[in-house]
Amino acid sequence: MYSNLIIDLMQIIMLTISTVVVMMTTAFKRDHGLISGLTVFGLFASLLTFVFIQPVLPLEATQLLIIDEYSLFFSNLIIVGAIGVALLAYPYFQNHNVQNEEFYILLMTATLGAVVLACSNHFVSFLLGMEMMGVSLYAMIAYPVHAAKSAKFPLEAGVKYLILSALTSGITLFGIALVYAYIGTMGFDEIPAALEAAGELGPVFLIGVLMIVAGAAFKLSLVPFHIWTPDVYEGAPVPVTAFLATVSKAAMLAVTLRLLLVSNAIELNVVTTVLTVMAAVSIIFGNLLALLQENVKRLFAYSSIAHLGYLLVIIIAAAKIPGALSVEGVSFYMLAYFVMSLSGFAVISALSNSEKEYDQLADFRGLFWRNSWVSAVLITVLLSLAGIPLTAGFIGKFYIFTTGVESELWFLLTMLIIGSAIGLYYYLRLIYIMLQPAEDDANDPAAVSLPLGAHAVMAAMTAAIIYLGVYPAPMIDTLQSLASAF
């Protein structure tokens, strides 16, 4: 029993140990390479523990955490993302003239928070996971604040994220409090029974749920809680942006979906309506905002708003169709989006460093002819984001359409099509710019030596995009089995 518990928590334990090891090492020897290597190693070790965890699934590790295939999938995804971020961070901070080592500690704690969030089955662990990730992220976003010549506006981004995030954390917590006040339990899976005992649905409960939704929507950057996204994406160092776009979203999504499905909240009329409105508006606003964006990081930020809107469609579909298909679809889309984003930010990161980021559209002019490989990766990402076949994005979009059709969400599907149409414009615009002949320009980002780690990330993620797009069957099987729990 206990041994099983330990095995179950192995990933979390490994992450914790690695964090401590990294911290201790930092205390004795500040060496960027060593620390980043240790971090990557620690993360890898944590990732690999899933081999041991797999056979003993599913298990509730106390009432706080549940480790099942679903959470394991997301944990793995999160750790992979963290490895990617660590690999990107090393070259990015290489020339950063102040201490870099804390970044890795923060990365570890953020990852730990994300994993906890993904596994959480209780509002306490939800809070802890979310805040562990959040607090680490405040510092990570503002990390280069000391540098004499920092690439962007880390301070501004940090403060913005901190205040807005704290504000919404407060809202979420208050929502949790209301829910708790109404039903008297904080475990996700106890909610339906408690609700039944409470009799009819009180507005307190509904408002509490909606406040929790608001908090989740903030982290997922859904309209109207999206507004921080572009500024923070832009101001944060690229690896952190990558973390925000991938790990943070995946973790939050995992827990939100679990909460909505396990508590049956998705079947509440109010929740469905609110989510529908959010999805529609996110799709349209996100795409509209991205339309003529000149900064690639902001462009990705806006497009992430739209993509999370797409994702929401699958979640909403769960109200009418078996939750399993919905979970399968969400997981796939999240996986696809995760891979695409990581790959995209890897490209930007590969071209950038902590003193200068190449994230203007103009910086990408002619990239295809100067550095075909990097630009091919970015083109693949953009096409995938646009949902073109041969890429993971297409299968993801296929899931949206399938679930949308099955639950007859015609309105959202219409929005989806309109949004995608607008979306095509800016993805193609960036592709077009890369394809044009380069102007003679001293600021040649491709001249920056491309580090091995970034290449590895790009290669792995691109391979994943194509593989998932061309032969998704094995992954679909996996997701199908993990979704069967719902």
């Binding site: 607090v135 501004e156 901190l162 407060g170 208050f174 949790i176």
Partner: protein, 109 residues
């Protein structure tokens, strides 16, 4: 062991929650109106504190421990958050010689 039961006068849970809500919204208004970063942080603390209150009220209603545990967690969260936030306050002041958050408006569009 039996818990010591203290008979208290009846206070409806609504009133507790109401107080929490009022404090919460006051904190929120503070966040929205102030321009000084420290005030904003204080307002955020008010909000957090109000949620803590709400948990205590709820836990009292249900006679459970869980709400108080949550309060503890909120406490530690507040501590961690404030620590980082004050770090940022220092940086802001150091860099801009002001605590006005309106100077942090360089990214837009």
């Amino acid at each position: 062991m039996e818990m010591p039961t203290v008979t208290m006068q009846v206070i409806p849970m609504e009133h507790g929650l109401l107080l929490a809500a009022i404090l919460f919204i006051m904190g929120m208004v503070g966040v929205l109106t102030r321009r000084n970063l420290v005030f904003i942080l204080m307002s955020l603390e008010i909000m957090l504190n109000a949620t803590g209150l709400a948990f205590i009220v709820a836990s009292s209603h249900w006679g459970q421990v869980d709400g108080q545990i949550m309060f503890l967690m909120i406490l530690s969260l507040a501590a961690a958050e404030v620590a980082v936030a004050l770090g940022l306050v220092l940086q802001l002041f150091q860099k801009r010689k002001t605590l006005d958050i309106n100077v942090l408006g360089e990214m837009k569009g």
